[in-house]
Symmetry: C2
Subunit: 332 residues, 2 copies
């Protein structure tokens, strides 16, 4: 019997921000691992804005979460005991888990951490974040060398990778982020050609100046007014990748509809969503490419590591206040 703390869903944050009562910390006892099962110890949790969507239980493309369910998320775990399980004791595993210090698990959906980078990379550059950036940009955005690529939420975990991938692909890259510190980081560290601080003034005129021939690829993590401003500046045949809509999370409503969607007609352009799991069979190859670029010094990634299992809900909140710098992680 192993004692463990767990965070349970205790409220659906619909139409409002997450509050302190939406998650409840409990202590419970886990049974011994049954045949084929392992006891896993959680070392890191990874955070993503989509988790609020799961808590709201309004999106229907992932299994809904009910009150009392252990909160779902990504994590790095270590096999500490095994009853004939899939991986030997001592293996570091990455994948979708729940917010629990220890877990009984059959290993389904978990993969061993790659050795080329530290284990946390499996939650950031080599995790859903990295493959989302890769697939969204290359498979949906289809950038061509010489294109102008604009990324909103550019200093976020996904956005910062997208911009660097677009640079590797020979594009000119403009990032939109909030505040001078993030903008400086984009240009100095993440290799963006230009950064626009949306808090400092209207972005449409800046986009027109920086991309006088129009934007070829938009990678949008934000929605709302920023998406609308970007759509006002698209070039003929533009591809608009809708990756996220962080602007919606404040209210729980969908982001406002962009009236400039009609520019899709004037510019014969397309706007497209995607679900990264559709390319799951390619993830091993994509991870190898990402590792290579990191090791060549062409792809930087940032992790924002908070500490203490009891701080998991507060760490999730950092995503919605824009406090995180790079991929938000929690070390247990």
């Amino acid at each position: 019997m192993t004692e463990t703390r767990q965070w349970l869903l205790n409220g659906h944050p619909r139409g409002r921000p997450i509050n302190d009562d939406d998650l409840k910390l409990v202590t419970t006892s886990l049974p011994e691992p049954g045949p084929g099962q392992m006891l896993l110890k959680t070392h890191f949790l990874g955070f993503d804005p989509a988790q609020k969507g799961w808590m709201e239980n309004i999106a229907d493309y992932v299994a809904p979460m009910a009150i009392g369910d252990v909160m779902r998320g990504s994590g790095i775990t270590e096999v500490v005991a095994s009853n004939g399980g899939k991986f030997p004791v001592g293996t570091m595993l990455a994948g979708s888990i729940v917010w629990s210090e220890y877990l009984i698990h059959d290993g389904e959906g978990l993969i061993p951490c790659m050795h080329e980078l530290p284990p946390t990379a499996m939650l950031s550059i080599l995790g859903t974040t990295g493959v989302t950036a890769y697939c969204g940009l290359f498979k949906v955005g289809e950038p061509v060398a010489g294109d102008v690529v604009v990324v909103s939420g550019a200093a976020g975990a996904t956005g910062s990778i997208v911009g660097q991938l677009a640079k590797i692909a020979g594009c000119t890259v403009i990032g939109i982020a909030g505040g001078p510190e993030k903008c400086e980081w984009l240009v100095k560290e993440a290799g963006y050609d230009h950064a626009i601080d949306y808090k400092a003034g209207p972005i449409r005129t800046q986009l027109k100046e920086l991309a006088p021939n129009g934007i070829n690829v938009i990678f949008d993590n934000v929605g709302g007014k920023i998406l609308n401003d970007m759509l006002a500046c698209i070039a003929t045949n533009a591809r608009v990748v809708i990756c996220g809509g962080i602007s919606r999370y404040e209210t729980g409503n969908l982001p406002a509809g962009p009236e400039n969607y009609f520019n899709l007609v004037f510019r014969r352009a397309r706007m497209q969503g995607f679900i990264v799991l559709d390319w799951a069979s390619e993830f091993p190859d994509i991870r190898r490419r990402l590792v290579k670029w990191v090791n060549e010094g062409r792809l930087a990634y940032r992790e924002d590591v908070q500490h203490g299992f009891e701080n998991a809900p507060n760490t999730l909140q950092r995503l919605f206040s824009g406090s995180n710098k790079g991929k938000q992680l929690l070390k247990l």
Copy 2:
């Protein structure tokens, strides 16, 4: 010297409907045709909602119209005199002209009417309307037999053709139109499987009932609330073809942005505009296909013919009041 009446642009109807002062009727004298020129007599004018956009001069993908320009539109003309021009006297020509009873023209951009159907077909089923329906549906919407296709503005010139083409391609077709008469026509004459009268009540619940597994292809001529309701019901991998936004013309503003654009993410779907001229090289082949289906009785088309050159502005207005039944034409 030939005397002719012409309609000149006299005001930009921006942010408001077209009014009586926006076009001015004048009489002018045309010179004799110069070398290579012909004198053309206009028999029919064709009308399209995009013409209000030209008058507004806010869309920038067609040459802007200035005050005093002769109003631009499509038409059927006959060669009545020629000074070594491209086509012999007596030829009926179709294409982009101006609102003038007679024109001096070198024939550039005009094509002889096909003989398989009456000349007016070159302004409707075989004109921009027909090829827009064909290209928007097949090249952008990419329907697959068995798909559910929903068309807004379904009783309009383009919409009624789209639905029938989707039927030919083996799809289930739902049309959205205003009023019981149009809806009855859709089902009884145009072969639609179902029609929804948007004036009779909320359309979202009806769409969910008629397409319980979701909409695979949307062909939108309307924008605004109707587009938003359709987006609420898309299936995974849906294609959303944005062809027009008639709902915008009342105010001159773009249609409201559809907040359900975010379903593009949940449903990994795409929304796309197009400019039919991109496929101009294929128009002859597309017209042959359309003629064949018409002659086989598989493709019906409707023309709404008004009379008298002096009624040209009023005839254009019929598009925005929803008065037209099929392609709006004017016989001089």
